[in-house]
């Protein structure tokens, strides 16, 4: 959807002009509910972006950086906006400006920049890092006095450690093969011939910290007669760098992913992480001004589907045996607000016989994970987490499902902190269980 009717790609200025300050977005903004000041809502943020454009405010004003980073980037305001303001893209540009001036530098930033630029784009480093983290937590990290000492000296590092989810044991069975054929997971009823080939992007954080979700996605797709390939050369989608004001790295990663997908021969890219999926869908926009890549990026973005959308729209095999379990569904922001996928996950869950799917109130409100938000804004992140946990507990469900690793970790941590027995899963993992397929691949 284009922001303006004028020819050519919309500019930052066009997108800013699209906002008419009507305020319809205000009730949708989670940070505005925490901080009732205009600078903490989309209308105020857009006003500040305009101020930077017009010179009323200096580009390197630290207050501008703070206002841009207090935003979660959940994009609930886009769903609420009747005028079609593309707030996510505005925010991305504004943060890139902040980073270009260096005014976004704050002490806890050190691990943020290091993580985004040096670790996440490199799967091997991330894997090693996760193992080191695991080892640390079982040894030195158990020592309270040491932890306090670290927290005093490097609060950013301590927060990053606290934010990082538990590291699952890196057993062989959670390794994702390069290719999975439908007959490998035939299950009951045998394997029909493959309906086509889809590429699965395992993500960066998800591949290491939530490998089971990827495995379950591959198994479920194969069970629905899709040949799944995991192309070599896939790298981090680039969402984290882009959302933290590093468009150059994001573009580099985008080009690598497009090239890898093209080589794979798959007709469709299936994403099982809402954050990555939303960013893949934006590659066309991201590379629009790159003559060599614009068309390829646009074509790539057209093929992207969230796994629930792909399964439901292409026809889903209904599990045979009932699964008696009470479940509630939480909408990941970047699935509902960025990709506008609302019905597909619910339809997928409703296809499971016996499942008691309970509505979650304010299911489209951010849980406070928002990428690395907790690193810079621990209090705000925790407030939203508490709200989410309270809504989940109201449902009385035994399980909550949500299709984004950040949300899964955040909600899991929130439930644990509240002493709640409610478990958190990726929706596709629940479907895999309903199919009664093994949680690992044979061989």
């Amino acid at each position: 959807m284009s922001a303006t009717p004028t020819a050519g790609p919309a500019t930052h200025e066009d997108r800013l002009a699209q906002c008419i300050q009507c305020g319809m977005c205000l009730p949708a903004c989670p940070t505005f509910s925490l901080t009732p000041r205009e600078r903490a809502n989309p209308r105020g943020r857009i006003r500040l972006m305009r101020a930077v454009e017009s010179g009323e405010m200096a580009e390197d004003d630290p207050a501008f950086a703070e206002a841009m980073y207090y935003c979660l980037g959940c994009r609930a305001c886009e769903t609420a906006c009747p005028a079609g303001v593309e707030f996510g893209l505005l925010l991305q540009t504004a943060r890139a400006r902040v980073e270009a001036t260096g005014s976004g530098e704050r002490p806890p930033d050190a691990p943020r920049a290091w993580l985004i630029e040096r670790v996440l784009p490199h799967p091997r480093r991330l894997r090693i890092g996760a193992r080191l983290l695991h080892a640390y937590r079982r040894t030195l990290g158990r020592w309270e006095r040491w932890r306090r000492w670290v927290a005093d000296r490097w609060p950013g590092v301590a927060r990053l450690e606290a934010l990082a989810p538990a590291v699952p044991s890196a057993s062989r069975r959670s390794r994702l093969p390069d290719r999975i054929e439908p007959e490998e997971v035939a299950g009951e009823g045998g394997a029909p011939p493959a309906r086509g080939t889809v590429a699965l992007h395992p993500g960066c954080v998800q591949a290491v910290f939530l490998p089971q979700a990827n495995l379950d996605t591959a198994v479920v797709l194969a069970h629905n007669a899709w040949r799944v390939v995991v192309p070599k050369g896939f790298r981090c989608c680039g969402a984290l760098p882009a959302h933290q004001g590093g468009p150059a790295l994001a573009r580099e990663l985008a080009r690598a992913n497009i090239a890898a997908f093209e080589r794979s021969g798959a007709a469709r890219l299936v994403a099982n992480s809402a954050g990555c999926g939303a960013f893949f869908e934006g590659y066309g926009e991201l590379l629009a001004d790159d003559p060599e890549w614009a068309e390829r990026a646009e074509a790539f973005s057209e093929t992207v589907r969230d796994v629930t959308e792909h399964l439901v729209h292409e026809g889903l095999r209904r599990p045979r045996r009932p699964l008696t379990l009470s479940v509630t569904y939480d909408d990941p922001c970047h699935l509902v607000h960025a990709q506008r996928v609302v019905e597909a996950p619910r339809m997928m869950l409703n296809a499971i016989p016996g499942l008691d799917l309970r509505p979650l109130s304010e299911s489209t409100r951010c849980c406070g994970a928002a990428g690395l938000y907790g690193l810079d804004h621990p209090e705000a992140s925790e407030s939203l987490r508490r709200e989410k946990v309270a809504r989940i507990e109201e449902t009385g469900a035994e399980l909550v499902v949500t299709g984004n690793p950040g949300c899964i970790f955040q909600i899991r941590a929130g439930l644990r902190a509240a002493g709640s027995p409610v478990r958190v899963l990726h929706p596709v993992s629940l479907l895999r269980a309903a199919y009664e397929l093994p949680s690992s691949l044979p061989g």
Partner: protein
Amino acid sequence: MLPERAIVGLQEVTARDRVLTAREDLLTYAGDATPLREHPPAAVVVPRDVEEVAAILRLANEEGFALVPRGAGTGLSGGAVPTPGAVVLLFPSWNRIVEIDEANHAAWCEAGVVTGDLQRTVEEKGLFYPPDPASHRVCTIGGNVAENAGGLRGLKYGVTKDYVLGMETVLPTGEVVQLGGKTVKDVAGYNLKDLMVGSEGTLGVFTRILLRLVPAPQATRTTLASFDTASAAGEAVAGIVDARIVPSTLEFLDRVTVRAIDAYADLGLPTDCGALLLIEVDGRRSVVDEDAHALSRICRAHGARSVRHASTPEQADELRAARRVAFSALARIRPTTILEDATVPRSAVPDMLARIHEIADRHEVTIGVFGHAGDGNLHPTCLIDARDPDETTRAEAAFEEIFAAAIALGGTITGEHGVGLAKRRFLARQVGDPAVRFMRQIKAVLDPNQVLNPGKIFDPGPRCEQPPLGHPRLTAEP
């Protein structure tokens, strides 16, 4: 412009962190939803209670600075736009519904309560607060009372003024007064409560408001009728009124508006029609069914191509929501959306529609029209790019003629948005110089130092009416 002493004074009256002077705060309170008009305030103050508000007003009189009360900043006449040097008053945490008196059908609420929250809360008790501005999920009761907000249910239920029973108000000089009460009848002295309603933040700061509620209607039927031409829809409106049916909502949307809404909310609206009518009837179930049936007949008799009834409450909600986003959705078409609210007696609606189209054509500007056809309150909305000065000038010229047309047809330059900054120039043309003088005199008596939202509705006036020397007042120029 604002003396340091005043800032310190504000901090002493409230608290240090309740006086905002940082650039990022001042810039973000520079405007409301009125296009092309904004000016950053000199400070923003967030009082905690009525005593603090009173103290702030006394300080403003002593130090000679202006105060601009602000609700949610959704106003469309520039009422909350600060004049240079002014201090904005905010009420974000004043959002308590203090009492719902079911025996007397009344509710006390703080000024910052969001209108939609009040509606929902009283509906849970089987009561109903009818005034329904399109921004009801965002706007506040305080702002509604200050602007005498209207909305979608004006035809049957009236507007905000018909539901204000009383209020706690801080006068410009800092006295706190209680006006009105829970009785239906009350003729003790001048009707000051009604003077306050629609005073656009110039005569008092409302801190608590007592609202009248009515029993919730037993049933509601929502109907959508599409027509080939806008004039056919206009005639159907006249036909409905002639049949002595009083819908709670009778909304008109032209083709431009329907297309914009459809681009936002995929509701399958007939985008190839000339105009739509959204009609709601409410009341006793038997009567409502009868009325809905009659409505269909009348619409068809006036050439409606389709008449659809919402089959579920959710569907009705969707249709109402579609109408509510009309203003903002029109912004999809062009970057700048200038929404006006010229209003005529409802019998003159077809005539007014024709004149608006003629004026738009002559000035070569796109004007989408939607609005409350049932009560004659139309929203001609000019779609321009404010970055183009020529187009902006043409839009201003078109509106000048639209206002003249509304006055000529016995209507008003503003049905529900207020005069604010945006329509000061046109006020005297409608009400005449003596009436404007009367308004100024009231303002001068209540606010001798011109501290409360000066420069709105009319200019502060000739110099001799001005406050003492040393406190020159400026107004933001339109």
